[in-house]
């Protein structure tokens, strides 16, 4: 089934314009539960109440406030907040082009495919040019009152727009100090390297299924049919870190070799 576009815009690459439609490139498949009132099995909802008096508060009466230090807050009027909102626009502006891969995946928040909205020639020419130049564009746009930053890339001959996280959201690894301790021995490093190399392979996403999701759905269906599922709760064993890591690694390797030896 064809997907529905969630937004329409125009990509501006300098003087060139590409009208596009936006489609989510991922579909969330997690099982979704509703919260219910235990006794009557009716869905719950949320109400606003005063934290002091516990009296109900109407949404229209609520003011937003920005927390300062020492329990102080600055009240913000709705008009003031409206003024901060970005201006509504259909433009996706490309501010610069960077080499493919320069923006690493940690910035990625969600991927969207762009589809042509009219001018197909401009659309596929833009995708072809990005692929040929091995570049991606840094895009800025406003969608539903929010500002977005994204990466415009060529993907399988089409245009893809990846919503990126904002700088203040990312905690970079180099801002943190790595755990330290007694130096690792040459033997430990060597054994660990051998083990990792022995387990090296290719990432094949199709090899992984969300088994838990399937089991939860089985459970739900069994209960819907009136069944009473048997519960077998698994209790993980407590683990202790061994003193002689190198020996354990060696044993792991030996075990692996033995297994592959008997197979082949």
């Amino acid at each position: 089934m064809a997907a529905r576009a969630i937004w329409k815009g125009v990509v501006h690459v300098g003087t060139q314009e590409v009208p596009v439609k936006l489609y989510s490139a991922v579909s969330d498949k997690a099982v979704r539960f509703r919260l219910l009132h235990k006794t009557d099995k009716e869905p719950v909802k949320q109400k606003l109440i005063s934290a002091e008096t516990e009296e109900p508060v109407e949404y229209a009466e609520v003011k937003k406030a920005y927390p300062l230090t020492r329990g102080r807050l600055v009240l913000l009027e709705p008009e003031e907040l409206d003024e901060l909102k970005p201006k509504d626009s259909r433009d996706i502006n490309i501010t610069r082009f960077v080499g493919s891969g320069e923006i690493d995946h940690r910035w990625y928040e969600r991927a969207y495919f762009l589809g042509p909205d009219g001018n197909q020639k401009a659309y596929f020419a833009a995708a072809a040019a990005l692929a040929k130049k091995k570049k991606e564009g840094v895009a800025r746009w406003v969608m539903r009152d929010r500002e977005y930053i994204g990466a415009l890339r060529a993907e399988q001959g089409y245009l893809m727009l990846i919503v990126l996280r904002h700088a203040e959201e990312i905690i970079a690894a180099d801002a943190l100090q790595a755990p330290s301790g007694r130096a690792l021995t040459q033997k430990e490093i060597e054994m660990a390297t051998q083990l990792i190399d022995a387990l090296h392979g290719e990432f094949k996403p199709e090899n992984y299924r969300d088994e838990y999701r399937a089991r939860v759905m089985e459970l739900v269906e069994a209960k819907a049919a009136g069944g009473k599922p048997k519960l077998k709760v698994f209790r993980p064993k407590k683990v202790e870190e061994p003193d002689q890591i190198a020996d354990v690694l060696a044993a792991s390797l030996a075990g692996m070799k033995k297994r592959s030896g008997t197979r082949g």
């Binding site: 610069r96 320069e102 995946h105 840094v138 100090q177 992984y208 999701r213 993980p236 683990v239 061994p242």
Partner: protein
């Protein structure tokens, strides 16, 4: 159940607490770890204030009789048809968890650039969770040197995750990945067939791209809205207009922890805290804390 409420209504787990502890295994070696979010919320979350200038909070009520509900009054339900729910208990969910849900078993290491970026969903930092951190350091060092990511699945908060474990600067990170059936192809979406374009048409775009080629600069990724909001707030603070005082928030409420800096919490956990993991191990925890603190300096 309180945990479930947070997860369903809040969308994202609260960032500051370690909300999953378990082990990474590679071969027969186990590495106890605790997991923290590696990203923090986009902008400061604004508080709600009522007409009496007192903070406003949300409360769950039954949609039918409007009765206020505590966490104990609430259960999880799956809607099998409109308005008809099957109740699923925490125990039942736990029972269907894969046997090794507390274990990230690295049976495959892949080249870092062998993972299509489209798959990445969210990043978490892993910090050493046990008495010693040697296995952690060893795994981080070797993985970083070999430029590989470890692949595994595990269950956290009633959801199974496919995960890539990546080492950077001696620190391990878990990147949750999408399952393949969550990734759409251009055909799934129904995009038109790729149309032929002339070299001249492509050239037009190539020229524009070449004109705007620059280096990647993360400073460009700052959020204008938060900046504008902060400007407004500081102006009002200076003029002392519209300042209210909120009574100290009760401990059981969410907001209290937000002022704590995620970065500070992470640094502490990485630096020398065997005390961080949720499980209590009083004797061992103390001893190793002393040990690592001494080594640190």
């Amino acid at each position: 159940m309180a945990e479930a409420m947070e997860e369903e209504e809040g969308g994202q787990p609260a960032g500051l607490r370690s909300f999953w502890t378990g082990t990474i295994t590679f071969g027969l070696v186990t590495v106890p770890v605790a997991l923290y979010a590696a990203t923090r919320p986009r902008a400061v979350s604004l508080k709600m204030i009522g007409p009496d200038e007192a903070p406003v909070r949300r409360r769950y009520v039954c949609s039918k009789d409007e009765k206020p509900l505590d966490a104990d009054d609430i259960v999880r339900g799956y809607e099998i048809e409109k308005g008809k729910f099957v109740v699923v208990t925490d125990e039942e969910l736990e029972a269907v968890e894969p046997r090794k849900s507390r274990e990230i078993d690295l049976q495959l290491f892949v080249d870092l650039d062998g993972i299509d970026p489209m798959y990445f969903e969210r990043a978490y930092y892993l910090v050493p969770g046990g008495g010693t951190n040697k296995a952690y350091r060893l795994l981080a060092e070797v993985m970083e040197k070999r430029k590989v990511a470890g692949i595994a699945t595990f269950v956290m908060r009633a959801k199974e995750y496919l995960v890539a474990i990546i080492a950077e600067n001696g620190i391990l990170r878990a990147e949750t990945l999408r399952f393949e059936d969550e990734i759409r192809t251009p055909e799934d979406i129904g995009l038109p067939k790729i149309a032929k374009v002339t070299p001249a048409e492509v050239k037009k775009f190539e020229t524009q791209i070449a004109n705007r080629a620059k280096k990647f600069d993360p400073r460009e990724f700052l959020h204008d809205y938060s900046e504008r909001l902060e400007k407004l707030v500081h102006a009002k603070e200076k003029k002392k207009t519209d300042i209210v005082r909120a009574p100290a928030e009760s401990k059981d409420e969410e907001g209290g922890g937000e002022v704590v800096d995620l970065l500070a919490v992470l640094s502490r956990s990485l630096g020398g805290s065997a005390k961080k993991p949720a499980k209590k191990a009083p004797g061992r925890g103390k001893a190793s804390k002393r040990g690592t603190a001494a080594k640190r300096k």
